[in-house]
């Protein structure tokens, strides 16, 4: 029982990890190539959830909701990049942070005006609403769908980055942007495409999270901090790093949350262990990040220079 419980917790960590990966992939590319800090990445996650929930409620088709969320956030991402962020590429990080925080406030208020301040409803797709018995433990079937979609997208991205021309340019751009632009590549266009792609992946993450979490204004704000930890741990600009970073953070967070209070209760009173364990567990991923930065300042899987 103990071990099957542990196995299920590993599965939980994997599921959280793939969701983080969908968010981290886009952020790390934009950060790595244009050296651009986009804190508003969480807003695309929120918009993906809202668009997906609205389309799913109206049409009843989860696939259609997925298409709408991905295309919708892709379009919004491109418009935002072309209209606003393009002005901040040449500025330093402080301006970028200020501008993208402004965008977060803007999108949160837009969501509130359109959908209201309360959370909105989205059910899990037909056939994925219940739980299945896994080694004696009930496990929500929708979580499997999240894992499968996450792994499929990760494989797709691997092919895109390592076996296509745009992927080659992306990798080259992350390694040495100036050289790539000297060779006659339209680096602006490349960045717009990548930004749109990143936004679409965040939108997909939002859709996948929508039946699990509360779809409400500001839902992306907490997530983005964890995602920043992921890309710092994995190495900025590297898709591979984003994947491993996301899985590490997902596992560490999940396993830590469950087992730290149990571990602490061996040494102290249970009341203290429960509260302190939970507090310590929420710090755990930051401790991991600090450790990684101390040993390998460029992250665990940095882009080769």
């Amino acid at each position: 029982m103990i071990w099957s419980l542990f196995a299920v917790q590993i599965l939980n960590g994997l599921q959280y990890g793939v969701l983080l990966f969908l968010l981290a992939a886009g952020l790390t590319l934009v950060f790595g190539i244009m050296n651009f800090v986009n804190l508003a990445h969480g807003s695309f996650y929120m918009l993906g959830a809202y668009i997906g929930a609205a389309v799913y409620t109206a049409s009843g088709s989860f696939v259609l909701a997925g298409v709408a969320a991905v295309i919708g956030t892709l379009a919004i991402g491109i418009v935002v990049e072309r209209s606003t962020l393009i002005m901040f590429y040449s500025r330093d990080h402080l301006y970028q942070v200020l501008a993208t925080i402004g965008l977060i406030l803007f999108f949160n208020e837009i969501a509130r005006m359109v959908w209201g301040p309360s959370a909105i409803y989205m059910r899990a797709p037909q056939g994925f609403t219940g739980a299945i018995n896994l080694m004696g433990i009930l496990y929500p079937s929708y979580r499997f769908l999240v894992i499968v979609v996450g792994l499929v997208v990760a494989s797709g991205l691997y092919v895109l980055i390592h076996h296509t021309r745009i992927g080659m340019l992306t990798r080259a751009g992350a390694a040495n942007l100036r050289m790539v632009s000297v060779l006659g590549v339209n680096i602006r266009l490349l960045n717009t495409v990548l930004f749109g792609l990143g936004a679409a992946l965040a939108g997909l993450a939002g859709l996948m999270a929508a039946p699990i979490v509360a779809v409400q204004p500001g839902m992306g704000d907490n997530v983005i901090i964890t995602v920043l930890v992921v890309i710092v741990v994995g190495g900025i600009g590297s898709i591979r790093g984003a994947l491993y970073g996301a899985l590490i953070v997902g596992m560490v967070d999940t396993v830590g949350r469950v087992y730290l209070p149990i571990l602490l209760s061996q040494f102290t009173e249970r009341d203290i262990a429960d509260a302190a364990g939970s507090a310590l567990a929420s710090m755990l991923i930051y401790l991991v990040m600090a450790a990684v930065l101390a040993v390998r300042p460029k992250g665990l899987f940095p882009v080769a220079q």
């Binding site: 029982m1 419980l5 299920v8 917790q9 939980n12 960590g13 599921q15 959280y16 949160n108 208020e109 509130r112 209201g116 301040p117 309360s118 959370a119 909105i120 409803y121 059910r123 899990a124 609403t129 219940g130 739980a131 433990i137 009930l138 496990y139 929500p140 929708y142 979580r143 999270a209 039946p211 699990i212 979490v213 509360a214 779809v215 409400q216 204004p217 500001g218 839902m219 907490n222 997530v223 901090i225 964890t226 999940t254 396993v255 949350r257 469950v258 209070p261 249970r270 009341d271 429960d274 509260a275 939970s278 507090a279 567990a281 929420s282």
Partner: protein, 390 residues
């Protein structure tokens, strides 16, 4: 010519000011969270508060009132700043609303120190019910711990033995846990504190499933409640383990939860199905006006407006005699939508708490509370003994 005309108007103005329009309106500052993640609470409170005022053409208890609405943004420092504006620029005599406890604590001393009244209808931290109680402070909701206390009593009386409890790891979470344990005295099978920013409770629910308790007590307000209840259902726990909640499933997030919340057992001092005439009037009017069912936060705010109305009528809008106005408020001479309602010596309500169940509405496609039983009659908060007021 123009000067003569202006002088004439001025003269008319003076005459009228001394005559027909002598009664000045009472200024009320409504402080609430209207933006960010807590916005739904503030909006519902404000809508409930304004209902009796708008019904009576801008009057409460026959006295004209002017309500100045301020957004505290779920931030104590902003609450502090907007309260300064209300006190120094608008010179309000009463502050109403106040959504969250940290906001209330940020403004409390300054407001009562000025002899300005706070008629709170939501946030109710323990200090203000206890040692820091004041003749200028009233609350129509319930002390923060009380819903959890009533839930603890219900779980004990129901005979559940193996009980698990889950709350977010912050002040209110700890208060609810303490309140629950004050009335459920057996050791808990599991006691879990989750991070406030946590996206997902799946890991904790997996542990809970393995522990297989008879009943679970949970406190997850607002959006957290949506996440918790939904994941509870997806984990296949609905119907297998009794889920008793406080401030977790409410009329604000029920439209987002729908059938996922069916069978959940919330404990609260008020429900929309209460069978008293003033409640029926309130629910019908609220629904006609705002196209949704009111929440318990709207109900408490509605009560606070009616309480104010009753007191303003008694003193005829004259707030200069403070002991008289305090006495008028203490009398609580209004018809509460909760049914029984009176103030304790610490100006916290003495009221009943009820056990509800989430059911599908029989008439239309929506979900609502259904009263099951009384969890605690004439409940008194745990801090009142520390309040020196008589």
């Amino acid at each position: 010519m123009r000067i003569i005309y202006a002088t004439l108007m001025l003269a008319i103005g003076i005459v009228f000011n001394n005559g027909v329009f002598a009664q000045e309106s009472v200024k009320i500052g409504f402080v609430g969270t209207f933006s960010g993640t807590g916005a739904a609470f503030g909006e519902d409170m404000y809508d409930g508060f304004m209902l009796p005022i708008e019904r009576n053409g801008g009057k409460l208890g026959g006295v004209p009132v002017q309500v100045i609405r301020k957004d505290s943004e779920f931030k104590p420092e902003v609450a502090n700043q907007v309260t300064d504006e209300l006190l120094d620029r608008d010179h309000v005599s009463i502050i109403a609303g106040v959504t969250f406890s940290n906001e209330m604590l940020a403004i409390y001393q300054k407001v009562i120190g000025r002899g300005v009244y706070i008629i709170g209808s939501n946030a109710s931290p323990s200090q203000l019910a206890g040692a820091q109680c004041s003749p200028f402070y009233f609350n129509t909701n319930a002390q923060n711990d009380q819903r959890a206390e009533a839930a603890g009593k219900y779980v004990t009386e129901k005979g559940y033995k193996r009980v698990y409890a889950m709350v977010p790891n912050y002040q209110a979470g700890k208060d609810f846990m303490a309140g629950f344990k004050r009335y459920f005295k057996q050791p808990l099978v599991g006691e879990v504190y989750t991070s406030l920013s946590q996206l997902d409770f799946q890991a904790e629910l997996t542990q809970l499933t393995a522990a297989n308790p008879d009943a679970v007590f949970a406190f997850y307000p607002g959006g957290l409640g949506v996440q918790f209840i939904r994941q509870w259902r997806q984990a296949g726990l609905a119907g297998r383990i009794a889920l008793v909640t406080a401030s977790t499933v409410d009329m604000l997030n029920l439209p987002a939860l729908r059938e996922d919340a069916v069978g959940v057992v919330p404990v609260a001092p008020w429900g929309p199905d209460f069978d008293n005439p003033q409640n029926k009037e309130f629910v019908a009017e609220f629904e006609a006006k705002y196209k949704r069912l009111p929440s318990e936060y709207a109900a408490s705010a509605y009560d606070s407006a009616n309480l104010l109305g009753s007191a303003l009528a008694k003193v005829k809008g004259n707030l200069t005699d403070k002991p008289a106005f305090t006495a008028a408020l203490e009398a609580a001479d209004f018809k509460s939508v909760k049914g029984k309602f009176k103030f304790n010596h610490n100006h916290m309500p003495i009221q009943n708490f009820y056990v509800f169940q989430i059911v599908k509405d029989s008439n239309i496609d929506r979900y609502t509370y259904k009263t099951l039983s009384t969890a605690m009659a004439d409940a008194i908060d745990a801090y009142q003994a520390a309040c020196p007021m008589k």
